[in-house]
Amino acid sequence: MKVFPEDVLYSSEHIWVRVDGYMATIGITDYAQEKLGDILSVEFLEADTYVERDETFGSIESVKDVADLIAPVSGTISVINEDITDDSDIINRDPYDTGWLIIIEMDNLEQIDDLMVAASYHDFITQKEID
């Protein structure tokens, strides 16, 4: 059963965002990790790189696909989770906590308003699966 924590926001590219001031911790959703299957590797742009919202900030490779990771907000990549670059299984096991990907220092907090809350993302996924 898929999990939709309520303390994070969601993008339509299946990225979750946990906001703390200007800092946005980012990961892939439980739906995404389940669709991808066993994750084999993950790669990111370097720390201190500026990414625009909707641009690629990395890629994730699984037994089923190689998927681009799309930034849900604009800002500078301030931290990369080195634990998952060494052991990408963590993303499958714990996508919302220890399996986080990067932290972005946002420069436009208004972009948060465009993200979905858990109930909306749940509806989005449900509709997607019907389609």
């Binding site: 995404a32 669709k35 084999l40 590797s41 490779e61 037994v63 089923k64 696909d65 190689v66 998927a67």
Partner: protein, 272 residues
């Protein structure tokens, strides 16, 4: 220095791609010694570069009718027709000092190994210093149409095409060494359709092992010379082994991807 050899094997293209990828991830994950693999795809197959679109590069209907499998690689590059050829793959982690940390430098090292192996068969192959530039009218979809920098030519004709993928921690390079070349059959399965002149052009720019030797050489002998080429060029030992159980498990999972048209033909992101 001891490397692993997975000696000449025959599998379908989906399993071959899954084996290469499983070795690649397991080598990086466990910082293992490099692996060299020599293989053949049966049934006959076309493999596409990761960024190619099967619907634009391959006559899918003709392939289906002819029983030709189509698979998308994780490596870049162009389409390869796996018919009358030996495919090689080399996987190494970043800790392996024989290879520089870049695509072209790695191409060069591997090409030198292959060239030395070909020299043991009496074939003088040279590294391309600069890739050949094609006119807009010439087809660019087929791997052997275009020699890339540091690939191998025999008297100006391409004999081996290679492609590589790099991840943090290592690389996978695989390539196709032609044993014989059939430009008509090759052109028939690829898009766009070729004129007789273009097919003739392909014949003029591509060669094969058996075109370059006095009498046909069997696969085992070629593999043995290629193996010696790697050993002598890199001053290492090559020990014949099999896949580990972890590689077998990962291979089984990856076969699902490589036998799926979502990956091979449609190239769609699974999350879209």
């Amino acid at each position: 220095m001891v490397w692993r050899l997975l000696n000449f094997q025959k599998h379908n293209i989906f399993e071959n791609m899954a084996i290469d990828e499983a070795i690649f991830h397991e080598t990086i994950r466990n910082k293992k010694a490099p692996t060299i693999r020599l293989y053949h795809s049966q049934p006959v197959a076309i493999s596409l570069g990761y960024f190619q679109d099967a619907r634009k590069e391959v006559n899918i209907e003709k392939c289906n009718r002819a029983g030709v499998d189509i698979a998308r690689r994780i490596t870049g590059g162009k389409a390869v027709f796996h018919f009358n050829e030996i495919t090689y793959s080399v996987v190494a982690g970043d800790q392996e000092m024989s290879f520089p940390p870049d695509i072209l430098g790695t191409y060069k090292v591997i090409s030198k190994c292959l060239a030395r192996g070909l020299a043991y068969l009496g074939i003088k192959a040279d590294l391309v210093e600069n890739g050949r530039v094609l006119s807009a009218k010439e087809s660019e979809a087929y791997c052997f149409s275009v020699p890339s920098k540091n690939e191998l030519l025999v008297e100006g004709r391409k004999i081996c095409g290679s492609a590589q993928v790099r991840r943090r921690g290592g690389f996978l390079q695989h390539g196709s060494l032609l044993l014989a070349f059939d430009p008509v059959k090759t052109a028939d399965l690829l898009l766009p359709a070729r004129t007789p002149r273009q097919v003739e052009k392909l014949r003029e720019t591509v060669t094969s092992v058996n075109d370059e030797v006095a009498s046909p050489v069997d696969v085992q002998k070629i593999c043995s010379k290629l193996k010696k080429g790697f050993i002598d060029e890199l001053s290492m030992d090559l020990v014949e082994e099999t896949l580990t159980s972890a590689e077998e498990t990962l291979k089984s999972k990856l076969i699902g991807k490589y036998s799926n048209n979502l990956w091979n033909i449609q190239g769609e992101n699974i999350l879209n």
